[in-house]
Amino acid sequence: MVKEQICWEDVEVGYELPTLEKIAHSLMLVKWAGASGDFNPHHYEEAFGQSQGTGGTIVHGLLKHAWLIQLVTNWMGDEGFMKKFSCQYRGIDYPRKMKTMNEPQDGDTWQCKGKITNKYVDGDDHCVDLEIGVVNGKGEVTTPGSATVILPSGEWQLDN
């Protein structure tokens, strides 16, 4: 199988990663609670969310962090390596409620975006720094972050 692999030479500062779209809804939050082990009722019990001062249930910060990791790792490909990652939960995101057993109501869609801010060689590693973030339905960056990725350089294609 020939896999597509982005190389360090293919990208420049200012390059934008393909946007990853996500819809957070109650069902996704419950699945995430089970998969991550974060059973804080703040993410599935409306009244508890209100007692916490956020007006209701909110999207897990760590779920948004996992979206951003997906954005970067699926872009960098199997030969890329994520060296550093960071994100801050600046804005609260509210999940869509469910319309049916597995379909959410109409509402916000989130966009995970990334852009190359720096490109350099560090020892043997061909690196890029990325500015990343989760953007809510209003266009606000609720979860800004950054990442450093090692990409294969052009010689990788010749060797393989």
Binding site: W32, S36, L62, A66, I69, K84, F85, S86
Partner: protein
Amino acid sequence: MVPDDLKQHIGKIDPPHVREVERGAIRRYADAVGNDNPLYFDEEYASESRYGTIIAPPGFFGWSMQSVPSSEGIIGLMTAMINAGYYRILDGGMSYEFFLPVRAGDIVIASPKVKDVNAKEGKSGTMMVCDFETTYLNQNGDLVAKAYQTLIGR
């Protein structure tokens, strides 16, 4: 001012938390995120990759919440925060340094440490900003990753 009941947890390290990185746990994690990268669930695909087997997505170490029942470290500090009236707790952010991939079947040993607690004035009064640092080693004793997390109590 950080109350003494909170301050006494600074520098405390929870007992090492040992987990096997299970295939099913990786698959469920990727599914919950909505991540369809075959590296996380397709053994045939993954066996032909540079990793030779299924790997965990960065940030997943078998179990992402490393809460070990302990009166010392993270849980102890969270309990002390709630008792001191800072019961509204929010996650502030996460950062990592990654050194090695985590493969299905690896054993990951996590040691979470309370790095610091600082008081900060916010819009709704004083907040307690708690910084944690977790070191992850694998079964060979090699450093896999370091994670830094901030929890904020109001």
